[in-house]
Symmetry: C2
Subunit: 208 residues, 2 copies
DNA sequence: GAGATACGCTACGGGGCGTAGCGGAATGGG
DNA sequence: CCCATTCCGCTACGCCCCGTAGCGTATCTC
């Protein structure tokens, strides 16, 4: 990912092979799942030699992280005009992403693998977590401009804690609902969840 | 799990072997992680034949679900005297469970596998999700008795939606914070999270 | 050109998978 | 008591995947 801009001597690596491998990884992941995904099969589908894969990625999990990171970059946060609309929007678009088989399979698999792999944990943080916090920061800044949220605290660490909390609550709830509880994230759920997030449990528990 | 109480004819299965296998699965999971966990290694550690494993579990993922389900049953919800204390309590005890290597590795791995395995998805729902909703139901009932939350809606489906939402938000946020963001769930985080859950984003964003 | 690096291909030892077949052990029914 | 039934541990097997090494070739920089 962090490409070395200094062109080393010798034949450069094929960018076409990179794309073919990552594409093949995603499609293979959909068809056979994580545990039956093999490096040899990815190479066959991509039309490259197995050794070409191992020159770039040492393990299946690292390959899969890169293959799905680009999917998460497609997430956008169009201005919905209100904090409520922005939250519902990001919930629904994140849920749509998690409906793609390659995204959900890959995300959970690499997280599982990362629990016993420190290097993979770092790779996930930089390639996925830190990159997507931009969504929270954007929505928060807009809400502050509209006067829907108080301005930044004098303590920047305090601000970061709140941003991290919001990110974990939104992403965690959507993932848990979609993949663990195995229930649909639809407009009704997004609306109730947003009420809970903005106004608290009492409001969300009210009959109407 | 759903043992057939009618004793079939012939030699019964060894309960000791069952326990030895599940214990060996957990300890092996801690040491080698999910992807390198092999049926043969589990059998060797448990002191049973590999064929004995395959008579009980057709796949590694099903074995692991049963091996960790018992860990989740240990979760308790002692009465903290207030809704806030109860929420903080369940957050911290769930986080403590997820600090156990075998619990977090197993949970994420079986969820990943379940995205391409319908039968496993059902097994997770019955063995983990539905069983642990008791914690939300208990805390909610207590809060209603104390007058901290409105009583049940006339519509039972509405009540179920709210309970499911709370469960996904709490469990999802703790899992995401612990395993994806890879940050500690300590008392301070639990307190801020609980404020967000009970009073909404405005209160949690306030400088003090 | 010369050196360096990437490529595709082939081959290999190692190891896990899941199954089959064996003799023996533990149970319940006639 | 004897027999059918089922489980057990053990061994062996074919299959597939792993990750690496070696080769000749292609493509870049100096």
């Amino acid at each position: 990912m962090a490409g070395c801009p200094a062109p080393r001597r010798g034949r450069p690596r094929s960018a076409a092979a990179d794309r073919a491998i990552l594409d093949a990884t995603r499609t293979a992941l959909v068809e056979v799942g994580w545990s039956k995904l093999t490096m040899g099969e990815v190479a066959r589908r991509a039309g490259v030699a197995k050794t070409t894969l191992y020159r770039r990625w040492a393990a299946k999990s690292e390959l899969v992280v890169d293959a799905v990171a680009v999917l998460f970059d497609e997430l956008e946060l169009p201005d919905g005009g209100s904090l409520r609309a922005d939250v519902e929007g990001v919930v629904l678009s994140f849920a749509a992403l998690l409906r793609r088989p390659e995204a959900k399979t890959a995300l959970m698999a690499v997280i599982a693998e990362s629990t016993t792999d420190e290097a993979l944990r770092r790779r996930i943080r930089t390639a996925l977590v830190e990159r997507q916090k931009r969504l929270v920061l954007d929505g928060r800044a807009r809400a502050q401009q509209r006067g829907e949220l108080p301005g930044d605290s004098a303590d920047p660490a305090e601000t970061e804690r709140v941003v991290d909390l919001i990110f974990d609550v939104i992403a965690g709830a959507v993932v848990h609902r979609s993949l663990v509880s195995d229930c649909p994230v639809d407009g009704a759920w997004a609306a109730t969840f947003t009420t809970l997030l903005l106004e608290g449990l009492g409001a969300a528990s009210a009959p109407r």
